[in-house]
């Protein structure tokens, strides 16, 4: 494993990525910073979809819960960032568990719908209590992680590498094995003596933890929290597209998909309004012709050798 070319290539890429601030402009760093945060959300989503087999249409419910909790603690109570992040992540886990306990009894489109509705409800809730949450306007956050692009980049990069490592490790650990078995064939997994609901719930909580944390980090980077940044359905859609695009059931592919989406959107920026159109079209073509996503393309080449 440690000597496999795949591992070495990953290490080389990571080192290059870590050293990027020495070579590229602040803008690209800012871009990648966002991509890394969304990457973590997408990886957390893939843990749920690719391994637990549950399609969560509302990743932004978890992200938004974490982000808003952290933001309000910082805005009103002035708590330091790490504490806000921690409490935000806990809130996301609690919210995720409240959502998941009943929702996991459902399957297929129904589970998806409930998670979707959760997002809409959160959105309505934020708007209804505009006095506290800032409503449609959003809430500004006094503290930010860092002002300069490079430290912000390193925060995000470190966060993504650690989260990615943990999620990947978890997915490939014995528990990940059980989770995957539960996602693939719940009946067989339970006949093997595994409490499928327990494992899926745990996966949901882990997914919520990283999503909430990423949401918190993201808003402490942007310095503002608003429905449009962390709750809106379109953000959730981006996350799902990123994960499928990068390659389902790979965890790491989700991060690659996120980076691709944001970077491609930026490279196509001269197209203005059309850039989203073109990025969606590219994603559609990849899904139609390379359903394994980017990592699928890589692995297919490898499988032949």
């Amino acid at each position: 494993m440690l000597k496999s070319p795949k591992f070495i290539a990953t290490m080389v890429i990571l080192v290059v990525m870590a050293l990027l601030p020495l070579g590229v402009g602040g803008y690209i760093l800012g871009l990648l910073t966002l991509a890394y945060y969304y990457g973590v959300i997408a990886m957390a989503w893939d843990l749920l979809f690719g391994f637990a087999g549950e399609v969560n249409f509302g990743p932004t419910f978890l992200v938004g819960t974490g982000a808003y909790t952290a933001a309000m603690l910082n805005h009103y109570a002035g708590w330091p960032i790490p504490v806000c992040l921690f409490v935000g992540a806990v809130a996301a886990v609690v919210g995720g568990a409240i959502l998941a306990v009943p929702a996991l009894r459902l399957s297929g489109p129904y589970f998806g719908l409930v998670t979707l509705v959760a997002v809409l409800l959160l959105q309505n809730f934020i708007v209804l209590f505009a006095g506290t949450t800032g409503g449609e306007i959003g809430l500004d956050i006094p503290d930010v992680l860092a002002i300069d692009a490079a430290p912000n980049y390193w925060y995000a990069f470190g966060f993504m590498v650690v989260s990615g490592g943990l999620l990947y490790g978890l997915a490939n650990s014995p528990v990940g094995l059980i989770l995957q078995a539960s996602g693939q064939d719940a009946i067989e997994a339970s006949a093997l003596g595994f409490n499928v609901t327990k494992h899926k719930l745990a996966a949901f909580c882990v997914s919520a933890l990283f999503s909430g944390l990423a949401g918190g980090m993201l808003i402490f980077y942007l310095g503002t929290v608003s429905v449009g940044t962390v709750v809106d359905l379109t953000i959730g859609v981006q996350v799902i597209i990123a994960a499928v695009l990068g390659g389902r059931r790979t965890i790491l592919g989700a991060a690659i998909g996120s980076i691709f989406l944001i970077v491609a959107g930026e490279i196509l920026r001269p197209l203005g309004q059309l850039s989203t159109f073109v990025v969606s079209a590219i994603a559609l073509v990849v899904i139609l012709f390379f359903p394994g996503g980017f990592l699928g393309i890589l692995q297919r080449g490898e499988g032949r050798s």
């Binding site: 602040g26 803008y27 966002l34 708007v127 500004d140 692009a149 690659i256 850039s275």
Partner: protein, 406 residues
């Protein structure tokens, strides 16, 4: 795949020019949602101003270049664009958005990145209030449009003649969308309308996502006010069309940002007929000698009249250019210092920014002889000015279904 992507990124990074040379153009960033009426006018008007300045020799021998960023009306996209404008495109100043939420999200970044910024269309009082409260950090932010409170005052001022005398209105319902800019607007409406003798009998804040306004209009109609005083910007076409289709007998009067563009008539299929709305300048009124020529030029070039944010964006480019010319440098602090000394007659009127002592620090001075508001009305496909009478080109006229107070 990943390697390729990174390679492209690295290449892009290395291609950046290290420093700007003297002969390089001065860049202004324009951040706006270009697929919305309010947003679309901003880069177009800014480009028009830049072209004019460049045709006249530029600024200190350097041309002006407008770099446009589409923020898709998202605060996150806008922050990204702002960062790009600062660190990659190295712009000297940013003209940003007509949405208060977006501007409020950008404001701390203008402070952090020390980037002069002006908004040509957002109205929230908070924009200038924050500058007032934290001047040292946020002095880079200027407000190139009226603050909500000022807008409300301007509507009330016009109301003295139009509402009270012409329309004989005694009661009103305030109908605003739930957004950052309407909070101070509504507060001021509730204060100033009674002062001119119009009693506010209800205050409705509606979600900007509303598509069906029937219940709202029905509720208002049940309360029998003489006028609906509006504060809408995100919504516009739908309430107007439904107002007309349902033949709500109460006139709409106040702020309706989307109504300021000529495409509004087409989008509403003429339902806009009779809507009265506030503007700072209009295509048919010589608010200043520059107003009508600009509107004509813009209309000739783009085929539609500018939205309210077009006038301000046009002026903003000129003001930044003048400030840089006077400062002789694109240094942010020097630009800010010169911007504070601005006394410029633009399409909006005479523009002077208020100082640190005002609660509207870096907001525009609104007073006779400086900037005053206008009231416009859609009449048979045309925007006509109905107030003040000095500039007024037409009398109020409403569609038949509207019943005025007696």
């Amino acid at each position: 795949m990943r390697g390729g992507l990174l390679g492209a990124l690295l290449a892009a990074g290395l291609c950046l020019p290290a420093t700007a040379r003297a002969a390089d153009p001065i860049k202004f960033g324009v951040i706006a949602e270009t697929s919305a009426i309010g947003g679309a006018s901003i880069p177009k008007a800014a480009q028009l101003a830049a072209d004019e300045i460049n045709a006249a020799g530029g600024v200190n021998g350097r041309k002006i270049e407008i770099v446009v960023y589409d923020d898709h009306n998202s605060a996150a996209d806008a922050v990204r664009a702002f960062q790009r404008a600062h660190s990659e495109d190295k712009v000297s100043a940013v003209i940003a958005s007509y949405i208060s939420e977006v501007v409020l999200a950008l404001e701390p970044w203008a402070g952090r990145l020390k980037m002069p910024m002006i908004t040509p269309g957002a109205a929230s009082d908070d924009i200038t209030k924050r500058v007032h409260n934290d001047y040292d950090h946020l002095k880079y932010v200027f407000h190139g449009y009226l603050a909500s409170t000022q807008i409300a005052d301007s509507v009330c001022e016009a109301g003295k003649q139009l509402l009270v005398k012409d329309m004989k209105a005694k009661t009103a319902v305030v109908m605003s969308e739930d957004a950052a800019w309407t909070l101070p607007l509504d507060n001021e409406y509730l204060k100033c309308l009674p002062q001119i003798g119009v009693k506010v009998i209800d205050h409705i804040r509606l979600s900007p996502d509303t598509t069906d306004f029937t219940p709202i209009f029905n509720k208002i109609e049940g309360e029998k006010p003489d006028v609906i005083v509006t504060g809408i910007s995100h919504v516009g076409v739908q309430p107007t069309v439904q107002w007309q289709q349902q033949q709500v007998p109460i006139p709409m009067f106040g702020v309706s940002s989307q109504a300021t563009s000529s495409t509004f008539w087409k989008d509403t299929n003429g339902a806009a007929n009779g809507v009265v709305f506030q503007m700072a300048s209009a295509p048919d009124v010589a608010v200043s000698p520059k107003t009508i020529p600009f509107a004509k030029k813009y209309t000739a070039k783009y085929g539609v009249t500018p939205a309210y944010s077009g006038y301000t964006a046009y002026d903003d480019v000129y003001m930044f250019a003048d400030a840089i010319k006077r400062a002789g440098s694109t240094d942010a602090d020097k630009i800010v210092a010169e911007m504070e000394k601005t006394d410029y007659v633009g399409t909006l009127g005479r523009i002077v920014f208020l100082g640190r002592d005002s609660q509207f620090t870096h907001g525009m001075k609104v007073a006779p002889g400086y900037i005053t508001g206008l009231m416009e009305q859609w009449q048979d496909g045309k925007q006509v000015t109905v107030w003040p009478s000095s500039a007024g080109t037409a009398k109020l006229a409403f569609p038949k279904f509207v019943k005025l107070g007696q």
